[in-house]
């Protein structure tokens, strides 16, 4: 069964319903609302050498009241996830792709076998966008 870690403070708020599209494909979805929570899950996946996918926001708090000076923590999280065995990483964020292009390129170069995708949050309701995200997480197409 596929495992997906969703690291975004909106995963239990505004975008909560997105989880239905992921779980409908049979994935075991785990939500993390900050970097520290997500790292705990990533280390657990790493220990059991689990194949998992990461869906992450770029702007993440480290924990409550921490992280205001680190605007791209999602990138660091993706690096940790890829090092722990994640094969698929998708970013879902309002940070424009151009702003993090060099970081994305470095991730792709360091992990050429992994699938690394970027989706802008504001385009989530465009035709087939959710299906694309689901597919990027390795869960097959369709909504």
């Amino acid at each position: 069964m596929s495992q997906v870690l969703w690291a975004d403070d909106d995963s239990i708020g505004l975008l909560r319903s997105l989880s239905r599209f992921i779980e409908r494909k049979g994935a075991v979805l785990t939500r993390a609302i900050n970097y520290d929570d997500a790292i705990i899950h990533i280390r657990q996946y790493g220990l059991v050498r689990a194949d998992f996918a990461l869906l992450a926001d770029i702007i993440l708090p480290i924990s409550e009241g921490r992280g205001a000076l680190s605007p791209y923590l999602g990138i660091d999280l993706a690096r940790e996830a890829l090092n722990a065995g994640a094969t698929r990483v998708s970013f879902l964020s309002v940070v424009p792709e151009t702003e993090i292009a060099s970081d994305l390129n470095r991730l792709v170069e360091a992990h050429p076998k992994a699938s690394i995708r970027y989706f802008h949050k504001a385009t989530l309701l465009e035709v087939n966008r959710i299906a694309e995200i689901v597919t990027a997480l390795g869960l097959g197409g369709g909504s």
Partner: protein, 188 residues
């Protein structure tokens, strides 16, 4: 008649509470936004739904809050940065700022928080440090923006540089983030 008076009194009480405790607005607004988002995500894609979705994504600005703590300020800085990026994406889409969606709404929340912090801060011995001159901050910004440090030896060089390279609102907001982040520890 009694019912009408009762309803009016409740409404009046709500209005008073709303101004004394503006957090009430957000306590109602956020769950409503979540319900709206839920409906949009489950509805068929359309241009109207997409526009409504983008508006909801940037709906969590809190310009009237009265609650302030160091943790709250730092959490709001993270959210403010995210909302600012969201507003920027709306601008890129529409090429102009739609009403109520320019970066200045982020500035409004920051100004409100800064005001609240300033009310809480009291002078104390350990913080009696001499101010860092504005010119030093500007020098750093100019260098980050590509200026040659050797060409910025005096204040007049800085003045000339910023006349031709004025900073953006987004850069000004980052400066405010920095100040508020550091100040937030003064109210803990």
């Amino acid at each position: 008649m009694i019912w009408v008076i009762a309803v009016l009194l409740i409404f009046l009480l709500f209005l008073i509470l709303r101004f004394v405790q503006p957090e009430l607005i957000y306590a109602f607004k956020q769950p409503l936004a979540e319900v709206g988002m839920n409906r949009l995500l489950l509805s068929p894609p359309s241009r109207k739904a997409s526009e409504r979705f983008r508006a909801l994504l940037i709906s969590d600005l809190r310009q009237e809050t009265r609650f302030v703590s160091g943790v709250h300020v730092r959490d709001r800085l993270i959210k403010n940065r995210e909302l600012l990026r969201g507003l920027e994406s709306v601008r890129l889409e529409d090429s102009t700022y739609p009403s109520g969606r320019s970066p200045t709404v982020c500035l409004n929340e920051l100004a409100n928080l800064l005001g609240l912090i300033s009310f809480r801060i009291r002078p104390s011995g350990p913080y009696d440090e001499s101010p860092v001159e504005a010119a030093k901050f500007l020098h750093t910004i100019a260098v980050c923006n590509g200026a040659d440090p050797s060409g910025l030896s005096g204040i007049s060089d800085l003045e000339i540089w910023f006349q031709s390279h004025p900073i953006t609102i987004e850069q000004a907001i980052e400066l405010i983030y920095a100040a508020m982040y550091a100040l937030s520890y003064r109210i803990e």
